[in-house]
């Protein structure tokens, strides 16, 4: 049955975020940078890549790297356990997927709800965080992720 969409208080302050769960924390990321959400199937690990890169997947014929945010954010690594969703982030330059336990769907939130949070709460670097909602959802900064230099791998295999 149809649900009335949320009343628009201020369309300019509404952001659509994709809500997902990761390591028992609920995160959100702007859906503007999310191209697709799909399940993790048949990833291929790559040698000689940083550990936060899980490997590569084939999504609709396109090969994309997949990142394990646990490792990237130096969160306690729980293995691949429940990580079975891939959220594909893309912008003009970069495109990759990030692992998620669950994708709970889209949510529209007001920018005001995104509160700044002290660093001590999570181990994620400040630059990757946009804030936390009152529901304890950590909003990640997709832009910073996408533009992070660390992600670019330039290693060469020793010859």
């Amino acid at each position: 049955m149809a649900i009335e969409p949320e009343q628009k208080r201020d369309t300019s302050t509404i952001t659509e975020i994709i809500e997902f769960a990761l390591a028992a924390e609920s995160y959100g990321i702007e859906s503007a940078f999310v191209r697709e959400v799909c399940t993790l199937k048949d990833f291929t690990p790559l040698p000689g890549v940083p550990s936060f890169i899980l490997g590569i997947v084939n999504v609709h014929g396109q090969i994309l790297p997949v990142l394990n945010l646990n490792i990237f954010f130096n969160l306690p690594d729980r293995g691949l356990g429940e990580l079975n969703k891939v959220i594909i982030l893309c912008d003009d330059q970069m495109e990759f997927g990030i692992l998620a336990d669950e994708v709970n769907g889209t949510k529209a939130i007001y920018r005001e709800e995104i509160l700044h949070v002290p660093l001590t709460i999570t181990g994620i670097g400040e630059k990757y965080l946009k804030g936390v909602t009152k529901d304890h959802m950590i909003i990640l900064s997709a832009e910073s992720l996408l533009s992070d230099k660390n992600i670019v791998v330039n290693e060469e295999v020793n010859q």
Binding site: E16, R35, V103, N104, G105
Partner: protein, 536 residues
């Protein structure tokens, strides 16, 4: 004289025999003479008798005739016939007797015709009587010479008789003389011979008796116990001399034998005392044996009773063991049934387990379905998210799409919820199933434990049965051995009795032996006394 006594005696007897013969001959001769004399006497008597009979025959005839003449009955003629018939034979007889006497023969010759005449006359008269009757006959008798004839006959016969009497007297006197002779011979002869024989006898006896008396005296003294004397040898060579020598030898022998007997008696005395002591010992020994036997018998009786008791107890044990066996058999049956029941339960448990497994599988399938539904929901969700993203990217145009996406998301959410509910229920079912499985497992374990316990119980019962069976066997063996014991005891008892019997018999024999020995001892003593009576 070198005559033996036997010869002397023979001579004496011979003399006696001679005298006897002499007397015998004399007697014989005289007796013969007497006999012949008496024969002559008899002869004369016979003649006399004959004469008388002749006369009586004649008289008979006469009587008969007279009777007939008187009566006229023929029956009265019987004497007549009798006399008549016997006259001539008698006459002949007479003649034969007097044949040695001339005178008498002559007389007999005279008689014969007379008799004939008389007879004829009588016959005549009879005829007259027969034919003519009495009167005529009477006349005839009166007229005739019959009477005279008869008188003559009588006279002659009387003469004959007188003659014969005279002869008789003669002969008798001769007999008398002979008798006298014999008498005197005997009367004189016997005393003389008696005297002679007496004298001879006396001398012989003197010859024999004196030495015999001597010997007798010696024998008497020996009988009184005096073996010291000897008989003086007389140097005679006859039987008496031999007797005296033998007697002397005998005395010497007796003396020697006495000494030997005395020695023997002493030995007997000592030996019998020894044997007496031995028998006394044996008697004591057998008394002890008897005592021991009675003790043993008592003990045997006690053992017997004890073995009977043990036999009884063993029988009781056997009975109770049998009961135990029965009970344990029941127990075994119960255990078997229990095991069967438990196995049944186990089977039921297995079935339950199977069902549970089936349930589990089903719930697995359900789980799978749920998973796929969840997957579907997830994917729908993703789709919805993607749709929302696209809608967001589409901006204003995508608003309707966003709604649709939202609906899809809702749907996905609902199905997720539904699946979550189902999952919850499934979880509950799973939990219940697990609980059931646990319970089943516990039940199984309990069953196993129960089976084990039953097995143990069964084992225990079997062991019990075995033990009780063994107990029964042992009890039976005990009973058997008790029986044998009893039999053995009985045998021992009997043997004891036999021994007792033998002991008693031995005792009796010992007593008898003792008696005999005592007798022997006494006898020995007596012998000793007897022997010591004799003065050597």
């Amino acid at each position: 004289m070198k005559l033996t006594i036997g010869t002397k005696i023979y001579a004496g007897y011979f003399l006696a025999i001679v005298i006897i013969i002499f007397f015998g001959v004399t007697a014989y001769l005289n007796t013969g003479k007497l006999l012949s004399d008496s024969k002559w006497v008899t002869h004369s008597n016979e003649v006399k008798n004959n004469i008388t009979s002749v006369l009586s025959a004649m008289q008979d005839a006469e009587t008969g005739q007279r009777g007939y003449i008187i009566t006229g009955k023929e029956s009265y003629l019987a004497p007549y016939f009798q006399g008549r018939d016997s006259i001539y034979p008698k006459l002949k007889e007479l003649k034969g007797l007097i044949i040695d006497n001339e005178n008498q023969t002559h007389r007999a010759d005279l008689i014969k015709p007379l008799i004939e005449k008389k007879l004829a006359k009588m016959e005549e008269i009879i005829q007259i009587r027969r034919s003519k009757g009495f009167a005529s006959a009477e006349a005839g008798i009166v007229a005739g010479m019959g009477k005279q004839t008869m008188d003559s006959i009588r006279a002659i016969l009387a003469e004959m008789t007188n003659d014969e009497n005279r002869l008789l007297i003669e002969r008798r006197s001769i007999m008398e003389v002979t008798y006298q002779k014999t008498n005197s011979a005997v009367l004189w002869g016997i005393p003389i011979s008696v005297i002679i024989l007496a004298l001879i006898g006396f001398s012989i006896t003197r010859n024999v008796a004196k030495p015999l008396r001597q010997v007798t005296r010696t024998a008497e003294s020996i009988a009184n116990g005096d073996l010291s004397g000897n008989i003086a040898s007389s140097g005679r060579n006859d039987e008496i001399g031999a007797l005296m020598q033998s007697f002397n030898k005998m005395i010497i022998m007796l003396r020697e034998q006495n000494q030997e007997i005395l020695k023997g008696v002493n030995i007997i005395a000592s030996t019998s005392s020894q044997i007496l002591t031995s028998t006394a010992q044996i008697a004591t020994g057998s008394a002890e044996t008897a005592a021991a036997i009675s003790q043993t018998t008592t003990t045997v009786e006690e053992v017997r009773q004890a073995s009977q008791l043990s036999s009884q107890k063993a029988k009781n044990l056997s009975d109770s063991a049998n009961m135990v066996a029965r009970v344990s058999l029941d127990g075994q049956n119960a255990v078997d049934e229990t095991v069967a029941g438990i196995n049944n339960i186990s089977k039921q448990m297995d079935e339950i387990a199977q069902t549970v497994i089936l349930l589990s599988e089903q719930s697995q399938s359900i789980g799978g379905i749920i998973a796929s539904v969840t997957n579907l929901a997830d994917q729908s969700n993703l789709l919805a998210v993607n749709a929302a993203i696209e809608a967001a990217k589409a901006g204003e145009q995508g608003k309707g799409f966003a709604v649709v996406a939202q609906e899809i998301r809702n749907l996905a959410e609902q199905s997720k919820q539904a699946t979550m509910q189902v999952r919850k229920i499934l979880n509950d079912v799973q939990k219940a199933t697990n609980a059931a499985v646990l319970a089943t497992e516990q039940g199984n374990r309990a069953v196993e434990a129960g089976v084990k316990k039953s097995a143990q119980a069964g084992e225990a019962i079997r062991t019990l049965t075995e033990s009780s069976r063994e107990a029964v066997q042992i009890a039976t063996q005990i009973v058997a051995s008790s029986q044998q014991q009893l039999i053995g005891m009985d045998q021992i008892g009997m043997a004891m009795q036999n021994i007792n019997q033998a002991g008693m018999e031995t005792s009796i024999s010992m007593t008898q032996a003792e008696e005999a020995l005592t007798n022997l001892h006494e006898l020995g003593q007596k012998l000793k006394e007897l022997v010591e009576q004799f003065k050597m």
